[in-house]
Subunit: 208 residues, 2 copies
């Protein structure tokens, strides 16, 4: 296929949909928080959840905390891009927020668990799928055990599920390691991925 | 396909072969020079040529300048990864240097014209192909006319060929604009592409 010189000389600037995922405890929230402080110009889409807010979390930034009734209305109205019940709580990505951000030309990033990434992959295969993970299973387990806000039973379930989740890597485009004490390297790699994706000759076509 | 947890947890660190190309006057040499000063850890493979050295050029860095007889020996011995006669001069990439760098685990970068990139694409489709270009044909023509070391006839030929070359974009993975006064942005984008490529879940398999 030969492209016309026009399509070369204005690099196709279609907005990207970036899906940041990975096992619980990988540090997705810490990465996004650092990116918001200093990073690229992006639209961050906040995941909705029915679970209880942890003390460190801010409504509308870390999650949008909603009542179960409201969440079930959104499911019924097909207003969630993906949703899942994980460990007894609902999580979902508001479809309208993502669609509007892309229509406005924003590169848009959503944070989802691996089930959520798999659901979005089916719906929007041309999104950019990034898998964030600690470098070893041992380090992941260690982090989960340090999370004091969860019960031992929760931790055991999460730890088992994390090993399964790691097997889902094949649906992702990129893997980024979040090593202890090296958050900035993970952030730089994710930003490099976004810059590189914007340099692609063949743009990804998002249909939402 | 599901990957084993081992293949996740040690990110496949195969060395990349990066092919930097683009029309004459795009600024490939300036970009490489800046990258050598401050950039990523890479092996830079110097193109061999039989053309005369310009005053600003350093043998072994900008080009490896060789006699025509020596160049023809290398062709005969199949020791050039690609070679072409452009505007009456020979240019070629020494195969052995590239192979040894990759075997030693270096991410390796070669600079070639667009004919050279097309030749390498056939031989090594899994290399990373980057097209460097000024943002408009007009700016490209402007730069070619500023190159005082060439004759008017040379410039006219190059300018015509440059328009043809731009049509070859489809064989490239990435396009990077080198805007007047913004060399650092082009360098940052190329480095981002290299970082991102090293984060790919499915590594590129180079067979050389």
């Amino acid at each position: 296929m030969s492209l016309s010189s026009e399509s070369l000389l204005s690099r196709p600037s279609k907005p990207l949909l970036i899906v940041l995922s990975g096992p619980s405890g990988a540090g997705k929230d810490a990465v996004l928080s650092r990116m918001r402080e200093t990073g690229l110009s992006l639209k961050y889409v906040t995941t909705m959840t029915t679970r209880h807010r942890r003390a460190s979390e801010r409504d509308g930034i870390d999650y949008r905390f909603v009542a179960t009734e409201r969440f079930q209305e959104l499911i019924k109205d097909n207003e969630l891009l993906e949703f899942a019940n994980v460990y007894g709580n609902w999580y979902g990505v508001p479809r309208k927020v993502v669609r509007e951000a892309l229509e406005e030309g924003w590169d848009t990033i959503v944070k989802v668990d691996i089930q959520g990434a798999a659901a979005i992959k089916k719906l929007i295969p041309e999104a950019v799928f990034i898998f964030l993970t600690p470098p070893t299973i041992e380090e992941l387990k260690e982090r989960l055990h340090q999370r004091k806000t969860e019960s031992a039973a929760d931790r055991a379930i999460r730890s088992k599920i994390a090993e399964e989740e790691i097997k889902q890597l094949a649906l992702f485009d990129y893997i980024v390691f979040n090593r202890q004490g090296e958050l900035d390297i993970a952030v730089e790699e994710i930003e490099a991925i976004i810059v590189a994706e914007k340099c692609r000759v063949k743009p990804r076509e998002i249909n939402l």
